[in-house]
Structure formats: C-alpha cells, structure tokens
Subunit: 665 residues, 3 copies
C-alpha cells in the first residue's frame, strides 16, 4: 500500500523543546526513516481548553518532517482525554467490576460507551481531521491506541449497563428469548425485562457464563463501534489516506477480525522481551512469531509493525536489555512474517511520565548509542529488500483456527486452572515453529480447503454448520486435528445435550465419543506412543473409539491403556483427535508425523527459525539465529544469498541471513 515507506519511528515532539525538532528529523532522515507516527496521546496539546484548538505546533512538526522527506501517520488522542474534560464530566472515568472508579492520572481513564464523551470525541476528531486530513505529509491514521488494552473489560458504569441492555435487546428481541439463551432457569435468574439486567459486576457467588460471554462480545462490538465512529469522520475528511491500528497479538478483548474489516491494513506492537512478564528468561521466539503470523492473518495480507521494541523497556520495573544483534534480528523476524514497514518505538526515551523507562532509539541524553547504530545499519542494509518484497506473504499449507468466541468462553471457564486457549494453540504452533513450517491463523469461517492441514484446538463452542464444514473438509481429503473440549457448548455458552461429546457429526468424522473426562489437577498423565513414553497435562479425555484407531494411549491413571490420541479415515481425509494437553516432546511427536507437516519441514538447529515470503517469481527465505552462538544451517543449492555473505549458512549469534529461490509455477 505504501511501497515507499519501510521504516518509521514513533515520535513525540511535544515532549521536547521545539528547538530540538529539526535536529531530530535530520537524524531520522540520515538514518533512513520514512515516516513518523504522531500525536496519538496529545489531546491536551491540541485542545488545551474546551473547544479551543491549537493545531499550530503540529503543523510545524509536519512541515519540518516534510522538509526532511519524512511523512506522517496521525493518531487520534482518545486514549487520553484531558483533565478539563474529566473535571467537567467525572463520570467519563471508568468503573470496574468491583464498583471502583479508576481515575485520571494515567491513560484510558474513560468509558467508551459514555455518550457525552462521544460528543467531545466527535467534535475533536472532526476538527482534527478537517485540519490535517489533506496535508500531503499525512499518509495515514491510527484511531486511539491499542484498543482493548487495559480497557476492554474494564467499564461497568451505568452507561455501559444501558449499552449492554440495548445490545441485548437488539440481539434477542424478547426477554423470553434472552432467558432461554442465558439459561436463567438456573439459580432463578430469569428477567421480566431488559431493564433489569445489570452489567455483570462482582456477585456474591458465581456467575452466569452465558451472560459473561455476551458481555465480552458486547464489549468487542462496542470497541469496534468506537473505532468506526472515528474512522468514518476521518474517511470523510482525509480521502486517500489509510487507516490502520496498532494491535497487540492475541490480546483477548477486541475481535481483531472485525476491527480488521475497518482497516486498510493491520499493524502490530511488537515487544519481544515481553516487558510485563515476570519471566524474562524463557525463549519467546515462537510466541513472537505466532503473534506476527496472527496479525498477518487478521486480513490475510502483509502488515506494519507500528511499535517495534528498540531496547530495554518497562514502567516501574524494567525487563532485560536486548543483546547485540537482537534488535535487528527481531526487526527481521517481523519482516520475515509479513511486515512491510517497521516503525520503532520510540525515537528518544521519554523524560516524562509513566514510560520514562520504556526506552527509545536514543537514550534520555539524546546521544546515539548501540540501539541507534544497530537500527541504522539494519535500515541501510535492508531497505532495498523491504521495497522488493512489499506486499508479499508466506504461502502456508497449515492453518490453525483462532476464534475469539472460543477464547472468551474459555477465559470465562478455563476448565483447568492452567489451561488457556492461546496457550493450547501455542503447543501446536510451537511444534510447527520448531520444524519451520509456515502457519496461517484462520477464522472458523475460512475456506479450509486452501490448507493441507487444519488444526482446530478447543472447538468448545460448536454449531452444526461448523461441524458440517469440518466434516466436508475431511471428506474432501483434508487433514484435521481436533482436541478435548470440542463440541461442549452452543454459541450461547449453554451445554450441548443432544449427543455424547464431541457431538453427532464430529463423532462420525473422528470415529469416537468421549463419555468421560479427567481434569488433571496437580498431576500429569503418561502417554505411550510406539514404545516411547510422553507426558500429557491438564486434561484427559476418556475416549471410546468407534472407527478411530489409537496413535497413542494413556500409560497411567485408571484409564491406562485407553486411547489418548487417535486418527480416523473419513472420506478422502483423516481426522485426528487429541484428548490431552500436549507437552513439547509429545507435540513434536504428534505434529511431526502428520503428512502435511512432514512435507513442509525444514530442519535447523534449535532456536534457529526459518520462514519465507513469496513474490510471484521468488521465495525469500529468512534464517534467524535466536541463540548466542554461531549456528550452522545446511543451505540448499537452489538458495541464493540475498546479501553478500562470507559463509552462507554460518549464522552469527543473534544474526540472520536471507536467501532467494526461484519459484517454478
């Protein structure tokens, strides 16, 4: 979409003296920066008093950028409404599940359903878009910031309650219908009228899982509507500019598929050290790769990284300092999974506020250091490559189904304290990653037939339409992996009652039923596979095969000897069922023997990642060494080094090599 933009920085000129701006832009230009993202938290600077706009400083910034050949993405600053607005309308501040207001003083101190707040946003965004919308330096927009972050499930105020009632009325039409779909016969929870329904605040004991699932979906819709409200204004006043959004991987709040439909392309905020994780030492390469693959999958197209980590990050605490080479390596990993542009967060470490230690390319002192040098060298080396591969993506033969309703429902009832939807997905993704097999994440409405193998873990909520689509896929020759906790519920989060698990259709596809299950609290289960012993964890389905044959059997507990993992020929395809949560070795064993995987596997040393992007004529291979030692990778003869390499296949620590291979179509 923007073939001339490959590199950018997130820039906050309002944090620095105006006299510094020109020097900053000059340094950026010299570095190879094409674009800056601006102003996504600057409401007070832009509207310092109710209805009084001050756009002059930003005009100057854009002029200076233009003078240095740099273009701009503008953010709408609605993640940080100013103090004057909160002082006039304190009930814009959000209320949590426990009934506590969260106050001004950080960010996201707002309620996205508040109608007064909407009015203020509408007025501001209109003026803002009118003023800047046709400025030639402005190439695109970002609405708000990381929608869903620290906010999506936060607000339980009276406006949100009213909004929820309205949403439910639209969905269910009659209260009888809602009562039916929420199973309110349980615990006397029936309503006579939509007006009796509260936001699902803290109860005395227990919650209604159907109500909570609607609450999650209502909030996702609300946030999408919040985005649409602004996007529509921007589209009106800023024609020909793109709108994107900085997403956060598998963040469990907003349905990014829905959000993606509003966008020209998706973007990702990519922080490989996992800043807020207590554990800063585990290898996160697969997690990073998966999040990039997912953001590419949101629109099934290449994307931007809108915030790429540049060095040490943190708020009150910091994470680890990246090692020499890791910043370029992580940048290249983003590219390798489909990023067309890398925008670094941030230009210079902020001297102000909460994020003083969320460091930028330049340290507080402004003196260029290692981060600057590494990024500059990376930009200079790779910009031609990025231009060349702009818009390309990998060609994946394996699809993993990622579905928001499943994620919502399993967050509400995780079944086992240590089970989580995305973690279960990662057990499969991880095994594919270790074999360098390209993966698309797909909606459950996708055309499965594009893939040789579809892995759909935890298909907890099920419809007959979806079951039929899975059946048709296998019937037509597909390889399908399903797992425990499939077919448990209707989409309204009420349990299926008409057949044994996993439901009539899928029982036929899989050749089995699941009459019982064990929740492995404080214990693992042995899984025997062809004389080898593995470990299953968290869950064990007791499987009664009809036509399925066991691939692996349990080796402990009273169901010792019964099937743990099965396969079943169905039509022209094969359906696999996995009754337990896979540990890594077991996942490697299972995934490795799937025919579609075996065909795609590229062998490399541990923590060396190989991925590709395909143009019409060429495949680009990215070989990424995530270890601190030089690694040797056998390079096929048909692969040509893209950069000049002294020793192709000898990858220095935290370094990468790129190869091309002709595609014979």
């Amino acid at each position: 979409m923007q073939p001339k933009i490959q590199f950018g920085v997130d820039y906050y000129p309002e944090h620095w003296p105006e006299e510094r701006w020109d020097q900053d832009f000059a340094m950026m230009a010299e570095m190879g920066i094409d674009v800056v993202r601006l102003a996504e938290f600057s409401w007070f600077k832009l509207e310092p008093a109710d209805g009084q706009y001050d756009f002059g400083w930003l005009d100057k910034v854009l002029d200076l950028a233009a003078a240095h050949g740099i273009r701009a993405v503008l953010g709408t600053p609605t993640a940080a409404p100013p103090a004057w607005l909160i002082a006039q309308h304190p009930d814009i501040q959000p209320v949590d599940r426990e009934g506590r207001t969260h106050y001004f003083g950080g960010r996201h101190h707002d309620c996205q359903s508040n109608p007064i707040y909407r009015d203020y946003i509408g007025r501001f965004v209109r003026a803002y878009a009118q003023h800047f919308g046709k400025n030639p330096t402005v190439v695109g927009w970002q609405v708000d910031n990381e929608l869903g972050n620290s906010h999506g499930d936060l607000c339980y105020c009276r406006y949100c309650q009213r909004h929820f009632q309205k949403w439910l009325r639209a969905k269910y039409d009659t209260i009888e219908n809602l009562n039916e779909n929420w199973g309110t016969a349980f615990w006397s929870q029936g309503y006579q009228d939509f007006s009796q329904i509260q936001a699902p605040k803290m109860t005395a004991s227990g919650d209604n899982p159907s109500a909570l699932l609607d609450w999650q979906q209502c909030h996702s819709d609300l946030i999408n509507d919040f985005h649409a409200f602004q996007a529509q204004i921007i589209r009106q006043y800023s024609p020909g500019r793109f709108i994107t959004h900085n997403m956060m991987g598998f963040s469990p709040v907003v349905c990014y598929y829905d959000l993606g439909e509003q966008l020209d392309f998706a973007s990702q905020d990519q922080y490989p050290t996992g800043h807020f994780l207590a554990d800063q030492t585990s290898f996160r390469g697969a997690q990073c790769a998966a999040e990039l693959d997912f953001i590419r999958s949101v629109k099934q197209q290449s994307f931007w990284v809108m915030e790429q980590q540049t060095t040490i990050t943190g708020w009150e605490y910091m994470g680890r300092l990246p090692k020499p080479g890791q910043i370029p390596l992580w940048s290249m990993q983003s590219v390798a999974h489909g990023a067309d542009a890398i925008v670094y967060f941030r230009w210079r470490s902020s001297a102000l506020g909460t994020e003083q230690f969320w460091h930028g390319i330049l340290p507080h002192s402004g003196i260029p250091g290692r981060a600057y040098r590494e990024i500059r060298a990376f930009i200079h080396q790779t910009k031609p490559l990025l231009r060349e591969i702009n818009g390309t993506t990998p060609r994946a033969k394996v699809g993993i189904v990622f579905s928001y309703p499943q994620d919502y429902a399993l967050n509400i009832q995780p079944q086992h304290p240590d089970m989580a939807y995305t973690q279960t997905l990662m057990t499969y993704y991880g095994a594919l990653y270790r074999r360098n097999v390209a993966v698309d994440f797909i909606r459950d409405t996708a055309d499965f037939s594009q893939y040789d193998l579809v892995i759909a873990p935890l298909q907890y909520l099920m419809t007959s339409a979806l079951a039929d689509r899975y059946a048709a896929y296998v019937q037509g020759g597909g390889q399908l992996v399903l797992t425990m906790r499939t077919g448990v519920k209707h989409p309204n989060n009420l349990c299926m009652t008409d057949a044994a698990l996993p439901g009539k259709t899928l029982s036929q596809v899989l050749g089995l039923t699941v009459p019982e299950y064990d929740c492995l609290r404080d214990v693992d289960v042995v899984v025997d596979w062809a004389g080898q012993s593995f470990t299953g964890t968290h869950w064990a389905d007791l499987i009664a095969p009809t036509t399925a044959t066991p691939l692996a059997t349990y080796g402990s507990e009273f169901y010792d000897g019964t099937p743990a993992i099965t396969q079943n020929r169905f039509g022209a395809g094969t359906a696999y069922y996995v009754g337990t949560e896979l540990t890594d070795a077991l996942a490697d064993q299972f995934v490795g023997q799937l025919p579609a995987v075996a065909a795609e596997t590229i062998t490399a040393p541990p923590r060396v990642e190989i991925t590709h992007r395909d143009s019409a004529t060429k495949r680009y291979y990215f070989v990424l060494n995530h270890t601190g030692e030089t690694q040797t990778v056998p390079i096929p003869a048909a692969w040509t080094p893209y950069f000049s390499e002294a020793q192709p296949g000898q990858i220095a620590p935290y370094h990468y090599q790129v190869f091309t291979e002709a595609i014979h179509s």
Copy 2:
C-alpha cells in the same frame, strides 16, 4: 424418620423440557430412587412477577413423581431472590467488609437482615407452604440452601449494622457493660451509645477481637433466625413433614448445633474430591469421615446426605474424575458414619449456568454412563441394608469437643499463620481414624461421662463452669486431653488475668502451668519420646510441671529437655496436656498410647477404614478400601459377611465389605 426412603436425587425439572420429565422419573424409579429434592433455587419460576405465583409446573412434577412412586423434599428458594425483586429493592444486595456491593448474577445476592426482603420471603413461603404443604408426595422441607455458605460473614450493610446494634443491646443491656466486655479502654474505642457502633468493616489498622467475636455470633444467630422465620411458616402449613437442612461439615459460619435444634434431622452435602481445593491429590478419607461424624453429632442421631457427589465437579475449573468404585465407596462411607439416606447431586448435569461442570449421574447428553451404572448397582445391592440399619449410629467411646465460639475466636486470631481450629482437631481425629476408633464430636456442654476419653483441643475461651466440668470428668475417672492455648480468654475474647495459663482449676487438673510460649514461625521443634524423635509444629508451650509427669520432651530450641506432652493423675482419672501441634507420626504415638484408644483400636492397612453402626442386637462393620489395590484385612471369626463375598477380608480396589456381629448385652 423416613424408613422407606433410602436413596434420592437432587432434581431440577425446570432446567429441562417438560416432555423429558416422565422419562427422567421412569429412569429414577428403575434405578431405585425413592425421593427427589426440588425447587430450592426456583423462586422466579414460582413467582415470575411480584405477587403472581405459578405453582402449576411443580404440581405436575409432583404428580409425575407420585405416579412413579417417588416422593419429594421441597426447598424454599430464598438463596436466589429474583431479578424483579432486586430491581425494586437493590439494597437487598449484600455489602462486604470493604464496603463493596455484591450484585445479582450468581446466588446469595441478598442480605438476611433486610426487613423488606423478609417481608417478601414471608409472603412467598406462606403461599408456597399453603399450596404444597399437604400434598401427600411432599414428605419434607429444606429451608434455603447451605445456610452460611458464601454469605454468613458477608453483609455489612446498614441493615446489618442496625441489626448488630440491636443484638448487642439485647446482650449487654448498657453501653458501659459493652465497653467493659469489648475492652474498649484499649485504643480509645469506648462508645457512649449503641447507635455509635458500626458493622466491623475494614479499619485503618487492627480490629477489636471482642467486637469481631460478637459479630460472628450475631451472624450465626441471624442465620438461625432467618431459618426459624421460614421453618415456623412451614410447620404451620405442612404438618407431619420433616424439616432438614443441607449442612457443609465444619463450615465456620453458622452454629449447626443451634440450627440442629430446629430440625427433625440433619443433612450433609458430601463432596469427597473437595472441589474447590487447589490440592486434589492428597488423601481426604479422614476429612470426609470427620465431617460425616460431625453432622451425625449435630443432633447425636443418624442423618441424611442431601447432596452426595456423583462424579467430576467444578465451576470454572473442575476437580478430579472419581475412579471406578469410588462413588459407591463414598456413598458407603456416608452410610458407615450414620447416613440413613443418600441423595445424589444431581440427576443430570446442568446445561445452564454456573454449575455446568458440577456433573450429575447422567452427563449432559442424558446417556447413562459409568456413574449411572455404579450408582444403580449400589442402590440395588444396598437398599435392604439401609432399611435394616435405619436410625442406628456408631457407639463411640471417644468424644472430641467441637465448639463454634472457639472456631470463631481462633479464626479472628489464629495465633500462628498456619494454625486453625478444625485442622488441630483433625490431627487428633486423623490418628483415631488410622486406628479405626469411633468418634463423636461433642459440644462442651455435653455429658462427658458418656465417654472414656474426651479430647478438647484449643480450649482457648474458658469459663470457670467449663473448667469445673473438665475437672469433675477427670476426677470421676475420665481421660482428658487438653492442649496449648487453653484458658487464654474469657468468652468475651478478653484475656484471663487472674492466674497463669491454663487457669487455676485446669492447672490443678493438669498438674502444670504454662508461663511462656513460642510461636514456631518458619521452624519446627523436635519432640523426643522414649528415645524416638518426632516433630512438633506451629506452637510450643513452655511447661512448668507441678505434679504432671512428662510423656515427651522438646529436643531443640532453648527449652530443649523440658516437657512437651504431659500426663497427670487427678482423682480417678488422667489429664493429658499437649504443648505443641502434633504432626501425624507424633499424633499416632500420643493417641495410640491412650488406654481408651488402645482398647478400641482395629488394625487395618493404611487407607482402609473400618467403622460400625449398632442396632439393638447387631453391630454392622463397614470395611472401606480407599486404595487402588486389593487389601487384605483380618476378619474376626465372629464377623459374618452381610453380602455374599467370595473372599471375606479381601477388599477389591475402591470397594467395601460389610459384616455383622451379634451384640451381647
């Protein structure tokens, strides 16, 4: 009381289509089910709008039950007031110690002191009891559900505050008297008037332990009053029916002794996997046995199990799946400790609401599986036995004092972070359980002389009357065990100041004083007993014997060599004092050498439990194998197998055998 009722199920016809009901009852009847518990959470279905009753559906259910020869226990649905009531009177919703309201959406979203709520309850229960009270299918009633569960210490609203003031006025008459009994001279807490007293909400720092103890007792009284209010209406309109209540073992909220006085018999909700425990792997046989013994002890008579676990349970998370045989085994354990009837929870796994994974006899699909088969076989085999032993109980020679005020007071000030009243009791109970010695739990007002041995741990609150009763018991030949933290306080939770611990009378009985004590934070103490080394934990009294002789001495810390456990002849009896918390091996050593225990001991392999019930002429022995292996138990010649057994004394995994022995009186 109900000799023709031995087995039941908790049934929720309102969760299922009416067309299914007849099939359900037919299946129940075939299985041997005698009774269903109904409607204890169905207020909305019975009063769908303010003052409009719909009893018709429940009439139909009762007719169908009758047609299949099944009778009914009706619950009052006051644990789940409907949305229309909450919408009209939102301050029925309870307020917690932090001042937060807990909202509609689960259950127990109510305040038991709210007078408006009481009016609604009175009106409903009157109509309900009038309508169903004389229906011949209805044999009994349950008021509310698990009173005290998630509710007892919850509400701190203004109604509860007013109620507390009233309760205190009745107890203390004058504010000066309250000031004296609450020790308000400390920290300037004196009141001029009862109206100044708040519910003991979150303070800035520290609480008044005397105030908290009254709060706990006030709440127990309130809940008993809440029960009495309903029970009185039921007795008026439903003559000849029993009232029971589903209790929860050692739940620390409501005084079950007081509640028991309102009941025809007690009932227990028995969930051996301990559903909400993080630890799902430890052996809980002794805990299960103790809770059953305690419920029998509430009224010192046989009882019902109103909810017996049938299979895997949980809310958001599940516990472990019972192993083959465990469900009948646990049922038999309930019988073995005095249950006359077993009501299984629940007939069929609910498709709706919070408890979707609190599974029933039938899975969601309704297809009978292992739980169904095991329970059906158990009912068919054991119903004649249950009829025969109806109303019998064990004859215990050991009594353990269980006292609610001690439990309340030690929850308020546990002394050591890991000390808890019921856990300390369990150290003694556990040792008796491992020797298959029958135990009654008794109030401290019980006739001690019925027992050869009375164990009274943590007699923290003491009166001279109680001290005198203990003295008289030993004087008269009894064996008495007392422990650390005895005689510390008056019943008003103020410390004793007139003598060294454990107080004048008990010092004489025990032949010692306790001038100092050590709280074993982060450390255990060695206890030496006749050359063997054991471990004491949590606490160490420094004992100054007068006439007592040491049984065991400390073997570490600066009091190395001083007495840890003593005995003292007093009159015709013996008084033991235990200065530390016993670990299992030390408890086995101590309890095993008590004469009254030695006489009652029946030796069996670990985790094989033997208990008995006595009719006028016969003792029934229940031998329960809680292990996964076949166990061999030596069977005395005088024991006759009740069921035909291929190999009496060879007990299959998770299985049981029953024997009888003639009683020669």
Copy 3:
C-alpha cells in the same frame, strides 16, 4: 537532657482496675524504672463526651507515680479519635487509593488534613496541656504515636485532595510551572487549573511519577504540620518539658529529619524480632543496628528507645519468643548505638483489644516471669553505666547518605521488582557491620568532610549543587562510593536529558559514563575480582570508563569482561562506582578494601557485634554476642572491663561485655 532517667515502661493504667495501680508502681520502682509513658491512646477516657474532660484518673496516676519516685511522659491521643467524634463527623475516616473508606474499630481511623478534626484536636490538646503541662511529674511529651505508621500514604479523601492542591499551588505558583515539572505533555495530562488536580487515586493504567513524588512529599509535610500544630500548643502550656517522638527506623513515610527539627531528641520503637515479618528466622542484628544508628543520626545526638521489645509480640499471629538473654542483649544494643534511656513496651500484657499478644514485661496474669527477671537484672546492673555515658555517641568515620526523596522516588519506580532503597543501603551497612565499623547516616546536605568515607547509593535524583558537593568532597581528599542509578532524574522526577549517565560533573568525578544498563530479571551476573568469582544481582550498568580503572569486571552476559566496579582518582580523593547490586560476599570484598574501612575494622566472630560510644575522656566498647554459643573475642590490652568479668573476651550466649579505653586527645 534527662540524666536521671535511664529506664522506663509504657504503662496503660486505664486497662487495669484502679486498685492495681499502686502495686504496679511499687513493682516498677523496685525494678529501677524511672519513667512511664502514659495516655497516648486514651482520648475517650480523657474526653468521654464532646467537650467534657475527665482528667481526674490521670491526675491520680501521676500522683501515684510521683509517690514512687517515677516521672511521666504524656502522649497526645490523636492516633485514636473516639467513637462520638467519628459518629458526628464520619468523613474524618480515611479513604484509600481505591476509594474505600477505612472505618473506626482499630486505630489511625482519621485524616490528618481534615479541618474539623484539627479543630477538635486543638481544643483537646489545649485543655490537656493546660491541665498537665506544669505538673512536676510530667517531664516530657509525645505527640500522637508512630506518625506515618499505617497512615501516611493512606488518605485520598476530598480534604486531602484540596490540601494537595493548596500545597502544589504554594510550590509551583502557576499551573504552567506545574505542567512543566510534572511532564504533563506525556499522555495528555496537562491541567488548566490547580482545582483539576485529583489525589492520585487508582488509575485505569499507569501513574505520573512526578505527581506521585509530590504526593509523598506533601504527605510528609502534612504529617510534620500535624505534629507542629500540637507541639506548638504543648510548648505554650508546658514550658521546660521535652518533646520527643517514637519513630520507626527507616519507615518510608515521614521525613524524620524534618520531624527531628521539632523535637528535643528523637526516639525509636525497637522490635528486633520484626513482628510483622513472615521470616522470623534470619539474623536481623545488622538491621536493628542500622535503625538505631539512623535514629541517632536524625538529630546527630543520643536518643531514647520509647518502645523496647520485652518478649513475644504479635496481633493475630505472633513472632518468635526471645531466647534467654536476648532481651537484655537487645537493650544493650540500643544503648551501644546511642540510646540514653530504654522504655520497655509494655508494663503488662494487655487483656484487651488488638494487641493482646503484643506481650509486656508481665504476662497477662501479672505473675513476674523470665522477662521481668532478665530486665530487672539488666536495669540493676547497667543503670550506673547509662548515667555515665548519658549524651555520648559513637565517633563514626563513615557516613552513609540516607535521603527521603530518593526513598520515595525509588518506591514509586523501583527499577527492578526486588530493588529497594533501604535494602541497597543495607548491603553496604551490612558489610561495615560485619567489620564493626561505626556508621552515621547523613543527609545529602551534611558536611561530608567530617567523614573519611561517604557511601551514597542510588543517588537517583540529582541536582548540580549536590553533584558539585560530591565533587568537592572527593577533590578535597574524600573517599566517595556512588552506584548504579545515580543522576537519573531531576528532583521533580523527570529524567535528566543533558548528558550521559551519571551526568556531567559526576562523570568527571568517577571517570566514566554509563551508556546502557541491564535489569537482571530472573538472573544474576558473575563479578570477577582478582581471580575470585562473586555475584551481582538485580542490576548491571554497562560502564564506559574514561579515566576510571576497574576493580572488578562482569564475568557473564554479553558485557562479560567490562567493568562492574571502578575507582577513579579525582583531586586528592578517590571516587568508586558500583554498577550492580552487591551480594554479601561481594560487599565484604568491596567494602573491606576501602582504606577508610580497613583502618576502622575490628575483627570478631560472625554475629558478634562491637560498637562504641565516646565521652570526652573514654571510649566505651560494647561487645554483643548475638549467637547461641559462647564466643571468644580477642580483647586489646588497653581495654578495661566495665563490669567484673570472670573471663573478659569470653562472651556467653546472647550476652554482652562492656569495656573502656582511655582517649588520648
């Protein structure tokens, strides 16, 4: 100041019957008690109704004290406003960061900015001071109790918000100035007016560190003002009496330096078992010593212990029981670090309220036991010594900078989850303690030239004036130790942006810059020192030396081989820089080789502490054995035993010896 007072007790006659008082005083007098502290929690007893005073009982107490030759310190009871006051003005009760009121029922249920509360205090303290101010038995006063304890950062009510706005207006004058100093350009946090500023309650996400630092400093000022308000009344009505305050070591709330300026001398509440710590087993000798040294340093003069632990303590839980000898040993430790008087907490264990298990000299029974005997013997033995050394202090050649703003700022942003300002200070103090080197804690405004060595860890907030003072100190021959995270911020908590860390001046002094740093999450770093391997933790600065030479280098991570600890000649002195958090062995290595330390070291076995106080002519050495075994300490020939000792230098378990040495000046 009070040469005839050496020993006292905290006495609560209002907890006991009047008939007992005379016996208590007689026992105290016999024991050697000179003074009692009275009434610091007795508001209700002294003003039982609004405006009605009852001082008679306290008159009697003072008369009885006088009759036994005992004098009194009176407390003002403002840590516990009575129920009648709270009932009339419930919004005196404090509100926490989450918006929750904390209610009456413990202590500190008040807001120190509430103007109505101030009025009541003013009226009471005036009447109280008028009545008792000139009573000859009254020798001094204590305002409130442990100011800052459980209160300082507690209240976020509307009065506190208004007070904060006022304080900010006084500090910043214009809102533009505040916006600048708070860095409100970040996240659109700009204010138009001081009235828009809220108390920093719970936000939706993130806080402004500059705002939080002002909040902390505002609260410290408020509490000092709260003290001054009362102290001024007392000074007016009670001439010639001292005012002191019972401080709590390194409590991070009130600036004790500021508070000290209002006092005649400082006091400490000394509880060596660390009552509220979960860990009760670690050796706390150094921590106890440091807190005593700090309290002495508050005014750089000798001090009182106003509460000295007498035996086992706790609220709901207790700590460990002191071992025989520990109570006198801890008393002597207080003396050894500069205490002129020891007041024991408390006379007799309270039968009432929260602190029933915070035991006193006498147990609840009033029967004298071990604590009584040990303390009585200690008093009788040491009173002459205490009189002799009254007013003396150690002469320390090492100063450690302790600065409240640094503590506040690092509590707001600890950098690493396990880093804390006082803990980092303790790594240096501990190494000095293990070498028996005397230490003063000093403000950063102190005259550094008094010390051979100044250790100033974590000089996170920096001014050019302070940097210049450090430079001048080294220039003039001083030895200075600085560490990681120095010069990061301006005093307004905004980051320095003008130079590389640690700032221009200090870079010259230290001969280095710090271009990068690593936060050691879940990992330690190896530190190599002259062939030996040590461990650094939490943090690693990457050091670029200019003129500095490395003392130690990192031995792991990618910066393996680069400097970890450096020294730099600067002028006539030496500046050391420590780039990592020292573990004990590394601290011993580093501190031990500092010339000023080597000169002062006195070798003794582990956990044997040696400290001194200097009169004009004599040095008194205190040798304290904190172990459970007899320890042998080589005693120099010039040291004369103060008490008759069978074997000077053979120190019994938990015992002490005192020596004198002539000072040749």
